[in-house]
């Protein structure tokens, strides 16, 4: 009785927070879910998509009982086994990622509430009424003001603390429960990201309810090097936006060049039409060492930890503008501006300045003072050749390269006056600088690469934020019926095996009339390629969320708009209530929305968290080959696994035998293989015969293109009836099916996992 009272009290508090009295939709079964509330959904997923653990090492070294050897069924002193230890690591990674975004959201919200007040209305324009699909689905809250977003982020903070607690020595003992917690963290991440980007759109007046956002100049060449240059690095626009304001207020807007690396660059271009994007994270070290920046301003996430040392080497001034990365620098927030400027210019000192107005003023003044004395030219071929002559081809650089490149060959060819190999290597390079660290002759390899770098100016479309409700109404039916063959979301960082892969993937699928969505560093990388007519992907394809469109949603935190779009399809098109109704939304997406994420260059913990959040929502994710280093994938075994769903119309559990989607988190070793996996992972049980035939047409044709002919080995699993067979391959497919003794099967009328596992959600909830 006392327990029941406690539960009711807790629910009452939650209802108060989410303003349940406002009846925009009935409150679903899981308002503000805690760790265990969606556990059954997770376990259902994990039953099919089992964790695949690839330990980095054999030990656990988390506590003073250890190190503990976990090989050959040994357990650690706390009782942990190797699988659980990997799952714990993955949860920690997801929490790091989730915290990064949540903290970003919390900070920007604080800044913007201070600027506009908590009652500032959330208005995302005339085409967006469903402003916060993740927040509404997860919390059950419809945020109407900046102050409401605070409720959402405080919920995320609380859950993060609980999850982090579970990683302490001597607690959780099940890998599956750790996975459920990782999935929880991933889901929270999408809430945190959504808070951040909605706050930014509202508070900074970013573009919204518009598809055709401006095309922004991209690349080294886009930056006017005759002007003082301020380069923003990181993710949080709290700094760069104030610099833009300062320049405008002081009539200096056209006197100083603003550019950026990584997501801050994307954010700044949403605020200022004059800002440029130099490039993705992978080019950070390269561009810093080029000395292009008179002043570097860092904020948070994805900034090098040796920034002061690198800035000093390049002769750039550095301002650390947020407390998350202060580099041991003196905090000059309370120092008089002129004194800071003097010390930075005359003594070449770097500072942390946590007052954004002061940081902006200092940045501008220092850049204007030091720019005239600085050289911002690339190395000449002759200079590079001289430096390269020291190479003895010892091979140490090759052993240090994470992408296994023969860098020594490139450098030694430069010494001979041949720059072709280094040009090729520059395209591949992920910019970690490990080659240089290992070089016994201290050859400045990244500097030498300047002779191989592209001199082109490219284009990236400024991030547009959420997908519009009007667009969802247009594409909802064709996506769920399968006649738009899928939504392909290329997201995340730039640890690519080859930077050109991304643009090729976008080109292939946009041409095939998939909807292609990009974000973060990937959105820059795809712009760094031109077709035979000299057009970038953004100039080649329309910016609409529609068949054949290429949409840049924005920075990392804008990834929440991709998950949000999937939820919008369930809510706007299918009219399923979303309020605190996570299982219904995720079930809909898993079974009916043919979407797949590609994190081809994933490198950070944030990417792990974002991907895991997509997984909980039922979106499979393909990762690049290096991503096995995340230690965990979610894989099915298509022949052995159960592929049972409830046919909600007949109220029968049906064994479909159809592995759709086949995996939830999957690593591909080559771009070519990814090209074949993408159309397959867009197949859903809900596809109409026409939609399935379209999807199989792409699967077969891409298989033939990249696998050298023939038919996919698992094709029979995806053909339900004759009508599913694409016309163009009818004869060949029918002959194959006859040969293997294929039997037709009935498509499922309304496929759902609800009703196949213990849940409070009734099957009726999925019928619209």
């Amino acid at each position: 009785m006392a327990e029941l009272k406690e539960i009711n009290k807790k629910l009452e508090e939650i209802y108060h927070k989410i303003k349940a009295e406002i009846q925009w939709e009935p409150v679903g079964h899981t308002p503000m879910p805690e760790i265990a509330d969606l556990r059954n959904w997770d376990m259902k997923l994990l039953q099919t998509y089992k964790p695949w653990y690839a330990p980095f090492c054999d030990l656990c070294c988390f506590c003073t009982y250890g190190k503990c050897d976990l090989t050959e069924d040994r357990r650690g002193a706390c009782g942990i086994d190797i699988a659980t230890q990997q799952a714990r690591f993955v949860l920690l990674a997801c929490l790091m990622g989730c915290s990064a975004h949540a903290s970003h959201a919390g900070h920007i919200l604080e800044v913007l509430i201070e600027k506009h007040g908590p009652d500032k209305k959330i208005n995302l324009g005339t085409s967006i009424e469903l402003e916060a699909p993740n927040i509404r689905t997860v919390l059950g809250l419809k945020p109407e003001t900046l102050g409401d977003l605070k409720i959402a982020i405080e919920y995320v903070y609380k859950e993060i603390a609980h999850l982090l607690d579970s990683t302490a020595m001597g607690q959780e003992g099940s890998p599956l429960d750790y996975e459920s917690k990782s999935l929880h963290a991933g889901m929270l991440d999408h809430v945190g990201m959504e808070v951040a980007d909605i706050a930014q759109i509202v508070g900074f007046n970013y573009p919204t309810s518009v598809a055709d956002t401006p095309l922004v100049d991209l690349g080294w060449n886009s930056v006017d090097k005759t002007k003082p240059i301020i380069c923003f690095i990181g993710h949080n626009p709290a700094t760069s936006t104030v610099v833009v304001d300062y320049l405008q207020e002081n009539n200096l807007y056209d006197k100083v060049e603003l550019c950026g690396i990584c997501c801050t660059a994307l954010e700044t271009t949403r605020y200022s039409a004059r800002a440029k994007v130099i490039g993705p994270f992978s080019r950070q070290l390269f561009y810093i060492r080029s000395g292009i920046a008179d002043v570097i301003m860092t904020d948070e996430q994805c900034i090098r930890t040796d920034m002061p040392q690198e800035a000093t080497k390049a002769g750039s001034a550095l301002i650390a503008a947020l407390d998350k990365a202060m580099y041991g620098l003196e905090d000059a927030s309370d120092m008089p501006t002129d004194e800071i400027v003097k010390k930075m210019v005359e003594e070449k000192k770097h500072f942390a300045i946590l007052d954004p107005r002061k940081a902006a003023e200092v940045a501008v003044k220092v850049a204007m003072a030091i720019a005239p004395q600085r050289r911002k030219q690339w190395l000449t071929e002759q200079e590079a050749q001289e430096l390269a002559k020291k190479c003895s081809l010892c091979g140490m650089c090759e052993t240090a390269c994470p992408n296994l490149f023969d860098i020594g060959k490139g450098v030694s060819e430069v010494a001979k006056g041949n720059y072709e190999v280094i040009q090729e290597l520059f395209n591949y390079c992920v910019g970690c600088g490990k080659c240089e660290e290992e070089c016994p002759r201290h050859i400045p390899i990244l500097k030498i690469m300047q002779v191989g770098a592209s001199k082109e100016t490219y284009k990236v479309r400024a991030g547009r934020g959420p997908i519009m409700d009007t667009e969802i109404r247009t594409v909802g039916a064709p996506i769920t019926l399968g006649t738009i063959p899928g939504v392909v979301a290329l997201v995340g960082c730039s640890n690519f095996p080859d930077i050109r892969d991304l643009a090729e993937i976008v080109d292939e699928f946009a041409r095939r009339k998939y909807i292609v969505v990009v974000s973060g560093c990937t959105s820059m990388a795809v712009g760094m390629w031109k077709d035979a007519d000299g057009k970038t992907i953004y100039e080649k394809y329309p910016p609409a969320f529609d068949a054949g469109g290429v949409v840049n949603v924005g920075s990392c935190v804008a990834n929440s708009h991709i998950s949000g779009a999937a939820i919008k399809i369930a809510n706007i098109f299918a009219a399923l209530p979303l309020r605190a109704n996570y299982e219904v939304m995720a079930d809909y997406v898993l079974n009916r929305v043919g979407a797949v994420g590609i994190a081809w260059g994933a490198y950070s913990q944030k990417a792990a968290s974002i991907a895991t959040g997509f997984n909980r929502l039922g979106v499979p994710v393909i990762l690049g080959p290096h991503s096995s280093k995340y230690r965990r994938l979610y894989l099915s075994r298509k022949e052995e696994a159960e592929w049972k769903v409830m046919d909600a119309r007949k109220r029968e559990i049906v064994e479909t035998g159809e592995p759709s989607p086949e995996h939830l988190a999957y690593v591909c070793e080559t771009k070519e293989k990814a090209m074949v996996m993408i159309p397959k992972l867009c197949i859903r049980k809900n596809d109409t015969p026409q939609g399935r035939a379209i999807k199989l047409n792409h699967y077969i044709s891409l298989y033939k293109k990249y696998m050298g002919g023939g038919l996919p080995e698992d094709l029979h699993l995806y053909v339900r009836r004759d009508a599913d067979i694409p016309l163009v391959y009818k004869k060949e497919v029918k002959a194959y099916l006859t040969q293997i003794g294929w039997k037709p099967k009935e498509p499922v009328g309304l496929p759902t996992l609800i009703g196949t596992y213990p849940t409070k959600v009734p099957v009726d909830s999925v019928i619209h």
């Binding site: 695949w52 653990y53 050959e72 095996p497 696998m707 050298g708 002919g709």
Partner: protein, 185 residues
């Protein structure tokens, strides 16, 4: 007893940093002996086999010769199948590396020829990061089988690995020696 035991310092709980590492095999005859001991070996072929040319022959051709020498079943990963067919060979199975590893973890799996799970898995032609992570999966979660690599890099997570070989001629000689030994037994 761990293979590292003789090298382990006392109080390893405090100082151990390494992993249970592969036995480094420098003699092709010894490697051939291990392959011949296996009842149901499997050769998993990676995409780098199509990129590397050794002495005028594609690395994949060496791999196919190894398979042919002892009728070792093959698993083509990534896009290897197409090149195999071009070279007149048909893979016994097509999986990606993470998928075949996922299946191999299951001791009850019937293997690519439905004769039972494999007791020795040879990996050839993978990126070292993905290869070593995959081998780690099997080291920890597939105690019912042994693993071997044929690339010119040392793979700590395998049971048997070649050392790092700087010169391609040495690697070529090793592979030719292996083929010769497999053929003559």
């Amino acid at each position: 007893m761990s293979q590292l035991a003789p090298m382990l310092p006392m109080h390893r709980v405090n100082v151990l940093t390494g992993t249970r590492t592969a036995r480094m095999v420098e003699d092709p005859a010894e490697l051939a002996k291990q392959i011949l001991k296996a009842q149901r070996p499997l050769l998993v072929l990676g995409p780098r086999l199509m990129k590397i040319n050794l002495g005028g022959r594609l690395l994949l051709e060496y791999a196919l010769e190894i398979a042919k020498a002892r009728n070792i079943p093959t698993c083509a990963t990534a896009t290897v199948k197409s090149k195999m067919i071009e070279l007149g060979a048909t893979p016994d199975s097509v999986y990606d590396i993470v998928e075949i590893i996922h299946a191999l973890k299951d001791p009850e799996w019937k293997g690519v020829r439905k004769e039972g799970n494999h007791d020795l898995v040879l990996f050839f032609g993978f990126r070292t990061d993905l290869g070593n992570q995959g081998l780690s999966v099997l080291k920890h979660f597939a105690p019912h089988l042994k693993t071997m690599t044929l690339c010119k890099y040392y793979y700590p997570h395998a049971d048997f690995s070649l050392p790092n070989i700087r010169k391609d001629e040495q690697w070529k000689a090793f592979l030719e020696g292996l083929i010769e030994n497999l053929k003559k037994e």
